[in-house]
C-alpha cells in the first residue's frame, strides 16, 4: 500500500513537472521566436539607415547647395533618394528628419502598387520620439507591440539630419500568436486534467484498497461476509475474493457433510451388523410363530394379522438398515459403460403403480436416446428411485414428474423436475444432510445416500433453484469411450 502511494505521488509529481516544463518551453519558444524576428528586423533597419546615410552624404558632397533647399523641395529630392534606397529593403519604410521636420518619407515596396509617400499618422508620435532620441544620443529605437503586429523603428543621427526607418511584423502577433496561445492554453488544460485525473485515481485507489483490506480482515472471522463490489479493476479484485470466499464456504460445507457422513457410515456399519442379526432372528421367530398359530385350531385370524404387522415392521427396519449400510466403506463402484435411457425407464416402470395410484404422470425426455456413460447401474437406479419417490411424495394428485436427459460438453445431466411446491429457501442448505426430513414417515437418508452414490460415480447432485416445483440435477461425467 505504501509503495503504491509512493508510486502515485511520483506519477503526480511527474505530471506536474512535465506540464510546467512544457509551458515554460512554449513560452520561451514564443518569446525566443519573437526576439529572433525583432533582432533580425533591427539589423535590417540598421543596414537601411546606413544606406540612407551614405546616399545623403554622397548627394550632399555632389551638390553643396542641395542641403540648403527649402523644405518642400528638399522633401521631393530626399524622397527620390529614400525611394531608390529602400527599394532594396522589402517592407521597410522611412526617410529623413532635417531640422526636426520629417522629410523624404517613402515606402517603395508598399503593396498598393504606388509608392506610399505619407508618413503613417498612427506611428508618427513614436517616430518623432525615436528621432529625438537619435538627435540626443546618436541612435534611437522603438519596438511597439500592438494587438495585431509589432512595429520596429530605428533612427540614426548625423550632424545635420537623422535617417530613420520602420518595419511592421504582422505575422508575429497575429494568427501565429493566437495559435501559440491556444496551444499553450490547451497544454495547460491537458496538464490540469491529467493532474486532477491522477488525484482522483489516487483517492479512488486508496479508498478501494482500504475497503478490500478491511473486508479481508472481516472475512477472517465472518465467513458469510462478501466484499462490496466497486467498478473497475478493484471491483474485479473484490469479485475474485468473493468467489474464493464462496468456494471456501462450499468446500467447508462439503467437508462438514463428508465428515458427518463418514461418522454416520462408520456408526451405521457397526449398528447394521449388531441390529440385523437380532432382527433376522425376530423375523424368523415371528414367521415360525405364525405357522404354529396357523396350524393350531381355535386361534384367531386377528392374531395372525398382528404377527404380519410385526413382520412388516421388521422388514421396514431392515430397509432402513440397508440405507444405513450405504454409508459404509463400500467397495469401489462397478463402473461400466451403460446406456442411460434404459436405466431411467426401468426406474419409472418400478414406480409406475404408485404414480398411477396418485394419477401422477412421469415423463421422460432425452436429447440423445443412445447416450452412454460410465456408471454403476445399481447406484444410478437407486439414486433415480430415491429422487422419484421424493417427487411422488411432493407432487399433488394429477401432478407431473419430468426426467430430462441432456448431453453436454463435460458429460450428462439428468434433471428430475416435479410440479410440487418446491423446497423452501431456508431448508435447501440442509437437503443433503442425513436424517434431515420434513416428512413424518421419512428417514432423512434418501438424498444423503443419493449424493453419496453419485459422488462415488464421480458425479454431483444438486438442487436447482428457480421456477416452480423442485428440480434435482444429477451430473455424470462422460465415459472414456
Amino acid at each position: 500500500m505504501r509503495r503504491l502511494q509512493l508510486q502515485l505521488v511520483f506519477v503526480l509529481l511527474a505530471a506536474i513537472s512535465v506540464a510546467t516544463l512544457s509551458a515554460i518551453l512554449i513560452i520561451r519558444s514564443i518569446r525566443g521566436a519573437e526576439r529572433v524576428v525583432v533582432g533580425d528586423t533591427r539589423r535590417v533597419l540598421s543596414a537601411a539607415n546606413a544606406e540612407l546615410e551614405l546616399q545623403y552624404a554622397e548627394r550632399a558632397n555632389a551638390d553643396s547647395a542641395w542641403t540648403t533647399l527649402p523644405d518642400a523641395a528638399h522633401d521631393i529630392s530626399l524622397r527620390a533618394v529614400s525611394q531608390a534606397t529602400l527599394r532594396s529593403f522589402p517592407g521597410v519604410e522611412g526617410g529623413y528628419s532635417v531640422g526636426g521636420r520629417i522629410l523624404g518619407y517613402s515606402y517603395p515596396t508598399h503593396g498598393s502598387g504606388n509608392p506610399k509617400v505619407d508618413v503613417p499618422e498612427a506611428e508618427r508620435p513614436e517616430i518623432e520620439s525615436t528621432i529625438q532620441d537619435a538627435e540626443k544620443s546618436g541612435k534611437g529605437e522603438r519596438v511597439l507591440r500592438g494587438s495585431r503586429d509589432i512595429v520596429v523603428i530605428d533612427a540614426v543621427s548625423q550632424r545635420d539630419h537623422v535617417a530613420w526607418t520602420m518595419k511592421r511584423l504582422a505575422g508575429v502577433t497575429d494568427a501565429a500568436e493566437t495559435r501559440r496561445t491556444f496551444l499553450l492554453i490547451s497544454l495547460v488544460i491537458a496538464a490540469l486534467v491529467s493532474v486532477i485525473g491522477t488525484l482522483a485515481t489516487v483517492v479512488g485507489l486508496r479508498k478501494g484498497i482500504a475497503e478490500i483490506q478491511s473486508g479481508l480482515a472481516r472475512l477472517e472471522t465472518d465467513f458469510a461476509f462478501d466484499l462490496p463490489v466497486r467498478g473497475g479493476e478493484l471491483g474485479s479484485i473484490s469479485r475474485s475474493v468473493n468467489r474464493v470466499a464462496d468456494t471456501r464456504r462450499n468446500l467447508e460445507t462439503a467437508l462438514r457433510r463428508a465428515d458427518r457422513l463418514g461418522a454416520i457410515g462408520r456408526m451405521a456399519a457397526s449398528m447394521a451388523h449388531e441390529i440385523r442379526n437380532p432382527l433376522n432372528g425376530i423375523r424368523l421367530t415371528m414367521q415360525l410363530l405364525k405357522q404354529k398359530l396357523g396350524n393350531t385350531p381355535g386361534t384367531s385370524e386377528i392374531r395372525a394379522s398382528d404377527l404380519d404387522l410385526v413382520i412388516g415392521e421388521v422388514d421396514r427396519l431392515n430397509a432402513l438398515l440397508s440405507d444405513l449400510l450405504a454409508f459404509r466403506e463400500a467397495p469401489k463402484p462397478n463402473m461400466q459403460e451403460q446406456k442411460l435411457l434404459p436405466i431411467m425407464k426401468r426406474c419409472v416402470e418400478l414406480l409406475e403403480p404408485q404414480a398411477q395410484e396418485r394419477k401422477v404422470a412421469i415423463r421422460i425426455q432425452a436429447d440423445n436416446a443412445a447416450a452412454h456413460a460410465t456408471v454403476d447401474a445399481k447406484h444410478l437406479t437407486q439414486v433415480l428411485t430415491n429422487l422419484l419417490l421424493n417427487a411422488l411424495a411432493a407432487v399433488p394428485e394429477r401432478g407431473a414428474i419430468d426426467l430430462h436427459l441432456v448431453q453436454n460438453g463435460s458429460g450428462f445431466t439428468i434433471d428430475v423436475h416435479d410440479t410440487g411446491p418446491g423446497v423452501p429457501p431456508d431448508l435447501r442448505e440442509h437437503l443433503f444432510e442425513p436424517f434431515y426430513t420434513t416428512r413424518s414417515e421419512g428417514s432423512g437418508l434418501g438424498l444423503a445416500v443419493s449424493l453419496e452414490l453419485v459422488n462415488r460415480m464421480g458425479g454431483t447432485l444438486e438442487y436447482r433453484d428457480g421456477g416452480t416445483g423442485a428440480t434435482f440435477v444429477i451430473h455424470l461425467p462422460a465415459g472414456e469411450s
Binding site: A72, I76, Q83
Partner: protein, 141 residues
C-alpha cells in the same frame, strides 16, 4: 531646343514664381552641360578623363541616380521629362559599355551627361515644390 524652351519658361516665371524660375533655369543649365559633354567627345577636347577606378565609382553612382528618374518624371509633370530620362538611361548605357571597353574618356563624358540630365530632371521636379515662406520681417515684430 529643350534648353532654350526652359530658359524662356524660366524668364517668364522670374517674377511670378521665382523659386520655380530658378529651378527651371537650373534644368536648362543642366541640359546645356549635358550637351557640352557630348560635344567634348565629338571635338575630342575637354579635360583628361580620371582613372578607371574613379570612373567605375562614378558609373555606380549614376546608376543609383537613375533609380530616381521615374519619380522625378512623375513629380515634375513635365511632358519632356520622360524624354530626358530616356536620354539619361542611354548615356548611362554608353558610359557602361565604354567603361567595359576601357574607353575612359567616352565613359567619363557619358557619365557626366547622365549626371547632368538627372540634375535637369530633379530641377524640373523641384520646380513643382511650393515656394518657401518668406522670412518674417523683424521690423513688424
Amino acid at each position: 531646343m529643350l534648353a532654350k524652351m526652359y530658359l524662356e519658361k524660366s524668364e517668364s516665371l522670374k517674377f511670378s514664381s521665382p523659386f520655380a524660375a530658378t529651378r527651371i533655369l537650373g534644368a536648362a543649365d543642366a541640359l546645356i552641360r549635358a550637351v557640352e559633354h557630348q560635344q567634348h567627345l565629338d571635338q575630342k577636347d575637354g579635360p583628361p578623363p580620371p582613372n578607371s577606378a574613379e570612373i567605375t565609382r562614378h558609373v555606380d553612382r549614376i546608376y543609383f541616380r537613375l533609380q530616381q528618374a521615374d519619380y522625378f518624371v512623375k513629380q515634375s509633370g513635365d511632358p519632356n521629362a520622360q524624354t530626358i530620362a530616356d536620354f539619361a538611361r542611354q548615356y548611362y548605357q554608353g558610359a557602361l559599355r565604354a567603361s567595359d571597353k576601357g574607353d575612359l574618356r567616352t565613359a567619363d563624358e557619358c557619365a557626366k551627361s547622365t549626371d547632368e540630365l538627372m540634375r535637369a530632371l530633379e530641377n524640373l521636379a523641384l520646380s513643382t515644390a511650393s515656394p518657401p515662406r518668406p522670412s518674417p520681417d523683424p521690423r513688424k515684430q
